[in-house]
């Protein structure tokens, strides 16, 4: 195996691992946030609009952590800086 093949295969494994680990944490956090929001809506239905608005903003903020992992995976796959070192 030449070095280019090693770099490419390691990149593919690393990208899938990044997205797997990056999806795991935010998924747990999103579930937790939704659970708490539903509990508060059940307790105080009159405050539901405000809770839902805050929930959506918070969810998008949590989701952006998964998006960071996604961007890293994309950089590894499509714009890998290490390939340029080997393949001239």
């Amino acid at each position: 195996m030449d070095s280019l093949t090693i770099i490419i295969s390691v990149s593919i494994i690393a990208a899938s691992f990044a997205i797997a680990m990056g999806g795991y944490g935010p998924a747990k956090a999103l579930g937790e946030a939704l659970t708490k929001a539903l509990e508060s809506v059940a307790r105080q239905p009159e405050a539901s609009t405000q809770i839902m608005r805050t929930l959506f903003v918070g969810m998008a903020l949590i989701e952006s952590i998964a998006i960071y992992a996604f961007v890293i995976a994309l950089i590894i796959l499509f714009a890998n800086p290490l390939i340029g070192l080997v393949a001239k």
């Binding site: 959506f56 903003v57 998008a60 903020l61 989701e63 952006s64 998006i67 960071y68 996604f70 961007v71 994309l74 950089i75 499509f78 714009a79």
Partner: protein, 221 residues
């Protein structure tokens, strides 16, 4: 199937400056916003038409959000923040039109927005309380936290750009991959989800900018 890349394609170049397709789309979006706003605000009346009603509702929503968060006169930041808000919202929607690429699915565009938001926080902070008092908020709890303040300045700007970029790019990518796998009618619900995500991300970008500005301005006592 369209060739996929996370970099924009260069259409033509003006001297050393290369104009990519996302820049062209940005110009189209600007033209659309200017024309729409110009046409519907020409004959303002006390009994508004539907479009005037919509524009007023957008402006009032922006004003209410800013007023709730800032301890100073909201009209200090509304002109630029509202522009940023509306422009990002329209840009996120632009990719749904066939033939146009989403301008915010390009890291250069989102970094430009993030730099604007970064400078807004400092400029409004200095403007409202003077340079010396503004700089003194960096040593707020203790001097030892100064490096963390400086790191936070950089990382939050970076995160702002990457968040918008990643969300928009992932929406486009999901639609593209599904188009390659199933093709007919299946990508439509994901495009609908993409509309919601685009609007929420535009809102979040504005709200986070507002939070940073409010952090630079002296808190209400």
């Amino acid at each position: 199937m369209k060739h996929f890349s996370i970099f924009p394609e260069t259409i033509f170049s003006l001297g050393p400056v290369s104009i990519s397709d996302t820049v062209l789309t940005t110009w189209v979006v600007m033209a659309v916003i200017i024309i729409v706003v110009y046409v519907f605000t020409r004959n303002l009346s006390i009994k508004p038409t539907v479009f005037q009603e919509v524009l007023e509702a957008i402006l009032e929503a922006v004003e209410k959000t800013v007023k709730d968060m800032l301890p100073v006169d909201p009209w200090l930041v509304i002109p630029i923040l509202g522009t940023l808000w509306i422009f990002i919202g329209f840009s996120n929607m632009a990719g749904l039109i066939p033939g146009l690429t989403t301008p915010t699915a390009d890291l250069n565009t989102t970094f430009a927005f993030a730099i604007i938001s970064f400078s807004m926080a400092h400029i409004f902070g200095i403007k409202t309380q003077g340079l010396r008092k503004y700089l003194s908020h960096y040593k707020e709890p203790a001097w030892i936290l100064l490096p963390f303040h400086l790191i936070a300045e950089v990382t939050r700007t970076f995160a702002l750009a990457i968040r918008l970029f990643g969300n928009m790019l992932s929406g486009d990518m999901i639609a593209l991959i599904l188009l390659g796998v199933v093709g007919f009618l299946v990508p439509i619900p994901f495009s609908l989800l993409h509309i919601i995500i685009g609007l929420i991300q535009a809102y979040i970008f504005g709200v986070l900018t507002l939070v940073f500005i409010a952090g630079g301005i002296k808190p209400r006592t």
